[in-house]
Amino acid sequence: MKADKAGVLTGSHVLNGNQACAEGALAAGCRFLGLYPIVPSIEVSERFLARAPEVGATFIQMEDEISALAAVLGASWTGKKSMTVTSGPGLSLMMEHLGLGIMLETPCVIADIQSVGPGLGLPTHAAQGDMMQARWGSHGDYEIVALAPSSPQEMFDFTIKAFNFSERYRIPVAIMSDAYVAQLEETVVIPPADQINIETRRYYEGAKDSYLPFKRDKDFVPPMVDIGQGYRFHVTGLTHDDRGYPIMFEECQEYNVHPLMWKVRNAVDKIVEVQETNTDDAEVVVISYGATSRAVLKAIKQARESGIKAGGLKLVTVWPFPEKRVTELAKKAKAIVVPEMNFGQIVLEVERNGYGEANIFFLPHGDKGAEYSEDILAAIKRASQTSEAKSGIIEIS
C-alpha cells in the first residue's frame, strides 16, 4: 500500500535526525505518540506534536516511560500505528512493556536515541551502549528487529521501515539511533506519498465468532483485529493458547513462545539488510552501524588511498544479526575491525560469527565520540599489518 498523503511532507528539507524520525513516523502512518520527554530525544516529540493537528495524529505525554509504552501498546490495539521515543534510562524503564508487546504481539515502534550510560551518564553525548539491551533487556525469550540509522535521511527511511516490519511481523521494532545522528542537520528528501510503500496491518477477515487472536498463519504471524469491532477477544501477557486464554503448562509455553522466535528467525533473510563498501577484494573489513559508519566510510577511503584493501559492512538491521554475511566476510578477509561507541557489544556477535577465520579488532568508545575516522584508520592499518592469527577479540586502546 502507499502512504497516506496527510502525513507525508513531500519535498527537500533541512532536518536534524530527530525531526526526520518524526517525519518518517508520520509518513509511515503513525497516528499515536506516547511520550515522556528525555534528552536527547525531545525534538522527535516536539516535531510530532507540532505536526499532529494537521495530520490528525494524537499524542499523550505520560507520567513516565513505563506508562508511555503501555499507552502505545493500548493505542496500537485501537488500530492506530503507534510509537514512543526515548533514550537509555527511558528504554530501561520500558523493558517490562517491551516484553508485553512481544507477548501480545502488538506492532509498535520504539525509537531509542542513545546517549552515554550507564545510570544517568552523559545525556547529551552520543553512544551505542544500548544495542545489546534492545535484544536482551526484557526478561524471557524474545526476538526483535532493530535498525541503526546513520543520517537524518536514514532516520526518515528507517522509521518507515521500522513501522513496516512491526506490522508485518506483529512485533515491537526498535530504532537504535544516537545523540550524534539525532542532532545532525542534513538535507532530507521526502518523496511523494505514492512512492512510499507502507505495510498495512494484517487484519483478520473471517467470521466474528471464530476469531482466534493468536491463530498463526504459515509465517507464525497471527492476523489482528481492532477493538470495538464486536470480536470481543481476550489477550493476556500470560502464556496463552490460540484463543488468548492463559494456560500454564510446559506444552503451552512451547506452543506459545517458540513461534515468537521463529517468526523472526525464519524470516531473517527477508529482514536482514546490510550496506557494503568495497568488500569484494577487502583484506580488512570494518563492520559498523549507526553514527560510527559515517566515520568508517571516510577511513576506508583514506585506507584505500594509502594502499590498504579496506572495505566496510554497515549493518542496517543490527537485530537480527546478519550472521551469514559476517561469516562469509570473515572467511575472505584477513581481519575485521569493529568500531563501536561502547565497550564491546556487537563485536561479540562478530566474534561469534567469525568462527576464528579472521582476526577481530575492536575499537571502543573514544574521546571523539562519533567523529573518529583517524582512530579507525589507525585500526585498519594495524589490522592489515598483523599477520599471525589470534584468537579472541583484540582490543585497540
Binding site: N16, A50, S67, A75, I227, G228, R232, Y245
Partner: protein
C-alpha cells in the same frame, strides 16, 4: 442490542452469558471470594447503563482481580502488573469513542500502579476504574498491601502491618477523580447502581468494591470465612452518601463507611485536548514546528 444465544431449552443459561466467557468457566477464584460478585455487578451495570458491549474495552492488571478481563466477554486485555490504567489511557486517547473500564485489585492499582492512578485522575481520563479491595495480595499468597489495615497480619507483615493503609476515595478525590464511591460486595444492588452511574459519567470514575478474601486475609487474621466477612460487612457498614472523603479511613475490623462520596464535573482529557486542538488550528501554531530549528 444483544443477541440472545440460541440454546437447547433444557440447558440452563447463565443470565449474563452474553457478557461472560462461559468457555472459561469455572473461574479461578476461591470459594467465598467477592470478586465474582463485583463482576456480576459490573455486567449488570453494563446492561443497565445500556451501553453497547462492542464498544467497551476492559483492561486488567495482575492479581486475582486482574483475571477479571479474562472472564468478561468484551474486548479484554490482561496486561502487566500495575499498568492497566496506563494501557487504558492509550486506548482512550487513541480511540475516544471507546468506553474504557479498568478492573483490577488494590495491590495492582494502588501499590505499583499508584502513579498511573493519580495521574489519570489528574488528567481526568474518561474511564471507569473498579478497584476490588480485599486488603491483601492474594494471588501471590497473602502479602501486605497498601490497603492492609494497621496491625493486620500478612505473610510479609508476620508481626502485624506497620503501615497505615490508603484511604482510596480520599486519594482519588485529591488527585481529581470526578466520581468516587465505595461499597462492599455485600451491597450488590448499590454497587450495581454506582457502577451504572459511573459508566454513564464522563471522566475518571473510581468505584472501590471491598471484597472478602477467605483464603488469605480472613484466614491469616482468623476472621472466619467469606460468609463471616459478609456478616461483618452487614453489621459494620454505615452508608453515608456525600461524606467528606477524609473520614473514610479503614482500620482493622472497624466500621466501614460506604456510599457515593464525589460526583462532580471537570473537563476530561479528551475535551481539553480537543479544545487545544481547535486553538492551535485557528492560531496556526503548527507551522512553527516545521522549521528545522534547534533549541
Amino acid at each position: 442490542m444483544m443477541e440472545t444465544p440460541k440454546t437447547d431449552e433444557k440447558q440452563e443459561i447463565h443470565p449474563m452469558e452474553n457478557l461472560l466467557r462461559m468457555d472459561r468457566m469455572p473461574h479461578i477464584w476461591c470459594p467465598t471470594c467477592g470478586i465474582g460478585l463485583a463482576v456480576t455487578a459490573f455486567t449488570a451495570a453494563l446492561e443497565k447503563a445500556n451501553i453497547d458491549p462492542n464498544t467497551v474495552s476492559i483492561v486488567s492488571g495482575i492479581g486475582c482481580t486482574g483475571r477479571v478481563a479474562g472472564y468478561v466477554k468484551l474486548d479484554s486485555f490482561h496486561t502487566t502488573h500495575g499498568r492497566p490504567i496506563a494501557f487504558a489511557t492509550g486506548i482512550k486517547v487513541a480511540s475516544p469513542k471507546t468506553k474504557v473500564v479498568v478492573f483490577s485489585g488494590d495491590g495492582d492499582l494502588m501499590a505499583i500502579g499508584g502513579n498511573h492512578f493519580i495521574h489519570a485522575a489528574r488528567r481526568n481520563i474518561d474511564m471507569l476504574v473498579v478497584c476490588v479491595n480485599n486488603f491483601i495480595y492474594a494471588m501471590t499468597g497473602g502479602q501486605v498491601a497498601p490497603t492492609t489495615p494497621l496491625a493486620a497480619y500478612a505473610t510479609t507483615s508476620p508481626y502485624g502491618c506497620v503501615e497505615p493503609p490508603f484511604n482510596i476515595p480520599y486519594l482519588a478525590e485529591s488527585s481529581g477523580a470526578v466520581y468516587v464511591a465505595r461499597w462492599t460486595t455485600l451491597h450488590i444492588r448499590r454497587l450495581t447502581n454506582s457502577l451504572t452511574e459511573a459508566l454513564q459519567k464522563t471522566g475518571f470514575s473510581v468505584v472501590e468494591a471491598i471484597s472478602p478474601c477467605g483464603m488469605y486475609y480472613s484466614r491469616i487474621n482468623r476472621l472466619g470465612d467469606g460468609l463471616d466477612m459478609m456478616r461483618f460487612y452487614h453489621d459494620n457498614v454505615e452508608i453515608r452518601h456525600g461524606e467528606d472523603t477524609k473520614n473514610l479511613d479503614i482500620g482493622f475490623q472497624t466500621k466501614i463507611i460506604c456510599g457515593k462520596f464525589v460526583d462532580r464535573e471537570r473537563p476530561s482529557y479528551n475535551e481539553r485536548y480537543n479544545q487545544w486542538l481547535s486553538e492551535v488550528k485557528t492560531a496556526g501554531r503548527h507551522s512553527k514546528g516545521q522549521k528545522g530549528s534547534k533549541k
